[in-house]
Symmetry: C2
Subunit: 154 residues, 2 copies
């Protein structure tokens, strides 16, 4: 009985590392989404699609690669790209020679909106996340995430 209690409390202590992670993420994302929407009419997921395309040569990326990069489901991304297309921030392009199909391409208006929103995005991430940690701690965190992301999942 006592060993069971000990085991459970170890697990609960470990779980604090997970629960805190989830709560911090949710809290920062919620604030960041509200900040970007209020100042640039650009919810966080839209910002992330524009920023991901902005990092590519020609602002162009295959839809399936874009979905992986922003970790949205394929159908979720299609709806979002449609919406950004109606706002003129993105265009869809077909590639006749490639069976893997459609691309999303950042328009000039999309690039402009991205550049307008970038300083606020960076400032809010500094204020709401990075400022809580020393430079050494940020290096520790970056190393932790690299470890998780570089290990193949089973």
């Amino acid at each position: 009985m006592s060993s069971q209690i000990a085991l459970e409390s170890v697990t609960d202590a470990e779980f604090a590392a997970w629960r805190g992670f989830v709560r911090v993420h949710a809290s920062v994302v919620k604030q960041l989404d509200a900040d970007l929407e209020a100042s640039h009419q650009l919810p966080l997921t839209s910002y992330e699609v524009l920023a991901t395309l902005g990092d590519q040569p020609g602002g162009k990326m295959r839809m399936c690669d874009l979905a992986d990069a922003v970790v949205l489901s394929r159908s979720g991304l299609t709806r979002l790209v449609d919406r950004l297309g109606r706002d003129g921030l993105i265009e869809r392009a077909e590639c006749a020679s490639d069976a893997r199909g459609a691309y999303a391409v950042l328009t000039a208006a999309g690039r402009e909106r991205l550049h307008e929103a970038e300083p606020l995005h960076r400032e809010m991430i500094e204020r709401r996340f990075l400022s809580y940690f020393s430079d050494e701690e940020l290096q520790v965190l970056a190393g932790f995430w690299e470890r998780v992301l570089d290990t193949p999942q089973t």
Copy 2:
């Protein structure tokens, strides 16, 4: 010019701590959501609502407190609670003496479904997140999150 480059690269190094955090969260949540949906027909957000109620006396919580606890918007939570209500896992109760209104209450079927899904939830979090870190590192992480969550936001 050179000082500007130095400033930018420091900022990029810091940003790795944020970008990795977002990517790890998205990746773990996506896997966990798929695991729970496949094995228990319970997407992660539904699981979190049931688990949050399960931790309360009588399995009962004010809707607005529940929305804060699971970090969903009020309208998002209403739709989710409606869905969980149709599945018989949750009931809504009004409180006549309290103007702040509606409660969500875990049903017996909801508690049973939660208990069925708990071991998988715990196992997957261990495998997909906690197992990457030593006990000391998990304590470091838990301390980091406490620091962020305990500091009032401006």
